[in-house]
Each structure stands twice: as structure tokens, then as C-alpha cells.
Subunit: 196 residues, 2 copies
């Protein structure tokens, strides 16, 4: 396996730091120290902390895209089952972190969107992209009569992803999967239930 | 009107700062400066930034309790209408802030619960208290056959409050009420719909 570049090492250290203390609580000096890089090297790679955070976020979402595809492109499952599969895949990831880390996209939405217009715009674009495969999958589920067609697939996709952020928020406080499981149970027996 | 105490002035400044840059991004020095207080006076009043944040949070939740009571104790409304009323009252507050501020309880849940065990425990207690009047109201709505009884009132209360946090998270990124309105529309026509 090739040795990761210093740039990648710095970005990895930044992700860990931002998970722990957020955007404002992450100092360039600490990230450089954890990555074993001189501060000068950090500033060679990244113009500012804001630009750095933006790259960390982009890498994080690139990984999220893979998890979305893993669930929603799984042709062995019905469309409705693919939606559940996504939430289960994420639940597994959260469990591996002891339910102490949530989603960086949600974290930065609350913490950084008010003070960084760069990050706010990027988060808005991320959510806009994120909903597309979910809306398509929900539309398929509606066409297959797996879920009701009372609402627009795009609105249901937004509802699902936003409410799931809320469940992760509660999970982080309780350090337990209870809120995640509660959300899945209630949502798939109401909003996303199979029509009787 | 009596002049607010220096202590209250510092706490008010802390709330504004934490809304803007979170717990980690709020410095004792800056809060003291905004409040027009010497740093030494800050440390006379508050043992640490963590204890200070805990008091800011407690004051914030004390205000939230009043908003909950304003909606859920309104005997002129049916139980189901009271639940909607709460979300509408909060929506009005969020609108007044240009949808740029969400809920401090949600903000600190994502940003500070991982690094402060004091705040995490306090947030856990806040959520535990918060759900009680909602669960009681939902139970009343179920008994009045205003909403279905498929789920435990406590679970529905948690679902409502957690998902609403998710809607506020999206609102902050978009600076628009779209996610709030979408949540209300979908939730009250599915999870909290009137049985036909």
C-alpha cells in the first residue's frame, strides 16, 4: 500500500479533530502537530482553515456517496428495502465509533454554517446532491406501490435525511442507538410504510 | 425595569457567542469583552468555561420550558393541535432570527457532548425532561382518537423532538423555513395524522 501523502495525513488528522471539537475548536497548529507536519507545511497545502475544513468535508462526503451507492444501487433489494439498508449501513458505522461520532455534515451544518459562507454554500450543495438518489429510490418504491404516493419523492427524501440527522443528534447525547432504532421503526411503519 | 446584573449580562453575551461560534469557538475573553466585564470578574462568577456554558444552557432551557407550556397547556386547543402549536411557536422564533439560529440544545448536542461530560449529562437530562409534557399530550391525543395508538407516546414524543432538530439543522444551512414546513406537513399527515 503506498504511503499516504502528507496532504492526506493532514486531512485525516483534520477530520478526527473536527469530529472531536468542531470547526471552531480545531486549530491549525494542533492538526499539524497530530499529522507530524510543520505549521508552514500546512499553510503551503491549505490557504486557510476554512479552505482546509472545506476539503475535509468534501472528502467526507465522497465517502458518504460510496455508502449511498452501496445501499441504493443494490439491485437485489426492493427500493423500499434499499432505503432501510442505507440507514442500517450508517448505523453499523456509528456503532463502530461507539455512538460518540455522528455525521460531519450534520455537525458542520449546526456549528459552522452560521460563520462560514464557504462551508454553508458547500453544505447546501451537499444536501442538494444527497437527496437525488434518495428521491429516485423513493419514486421507484412509489411506482412499485411499496410506499404511498401522497408526497413528492423529493420532499420525502429531504424528510428522511433531515430526520435521520435529528436521530443522530440524539444518539450522540445518549451514546446509544436507541434514537436510531426508534426512528427506523416509526418511519418505516408510518411515512414509509407499505400500503395495506 | 431593574438593571440586569453583571452576571446576567455575561450569560446573555455567552448565549449570543455560543449561537454564533459554538462552545469551542467561544472564548471567555471575548464574552467578557462583549459584556463589558473584566476577565477577572468572569472568573469570579464562573469557575470555568464549561460551568459557564452549562449555566447558559440551563437558562436557555428555562425559556424553552415556557414555550412548551405556552403551547401544550393551551386548553383552548385539542391535544393534537397543541403539538402543532408548539412547532409553530418555535417557527416564529426562528423566523425572527432570519433562520440563521437554530436551537442551542441541538447545537451543543452535536458540538459539545463529545468533549464535555458535564454538558453531555445535562443535555441528556434536558431531553429526558423535554419529552415528558409531549408524551402526556400525545397520550391525550391518542385517548381522544386524534392520532393513532400504534406507538408508545414516549417514543412518539422522542421521534417528534428529534426529527424537529433535524429540520432545524437543515433550516440553518438553507436559511429558509422550507425544512420546517416540510416536516410539519409530512409528520402531521403521517405519524401524527388523524385516523380516518
Amino acid at each position: 500500500m503506498p504511503k499516504p501523502s502528507l496532504r492526506d495525513t493532514i486531512l485525516d488528522a483534520g477530520l478526527k479533530a473536527m469530529f472531536r471539537t468542531g470547526y471552531h475548536g480545531t486549530s491549525v497548529r494542533d492538526v499539524a502537530a497530530v499529522a507530524g507536519a510543520p505549521v508552514g507545511s500546512f499553510t503551503n497545502h491549505f490557504r486557510s482553515k476554512e479552505v482546509f475544513a472545506s476539503e475535509v468535508l468534501e472528502r467526507y462526503f465522497a465517502n458518504t456517496r460510496l455508502l449511498v451507492a452501496q445501499a441504493l444501487d443494490d439491485a437485489t433489494l426492493t427500493p423500499r428495502a434499499r432505503l432501510k439498508r442505507y440507514l442500517d449501513i450508517i448505523t453499523g458505522r456509528l456503532e463502530a465509533d461507539g455512538y460518540a461520532r455522528g455525521c460531519l455534515i450534520g455537525d458542520l451544518s449546526l456549528e459552522a454554517s452560521g460563520s462560514s459562507e464557504l462551508l454553508r454554500g458547500q453544505l447546501e450543495a451537499i444536501f442538494a446532491e444527497w437527496r437525488v438518489p434518495f428521491a429516485a429510490c423513493i419514486r421507484e418504491a412509489q411506482e412499485a406501490k411499496e410506499i404511498a404516493s401522497d408526497f413528492d419523492p423529493g420532499d420525502l427524501a429531504e424528510f428522511l435525511l433531515a430526520s435521520w440527522q435529528g436521530a443522530m443528534l440524539r444518539m450522540k447525547v445518549e451514546r446509544s442507538p436507541a434514537a436510531l432504532e426508534r426512528f427506523k421503526t416509526i418511519a418505516f411503519q408510518t411515512v414509509f410504510k407499505e400500503p395495506s
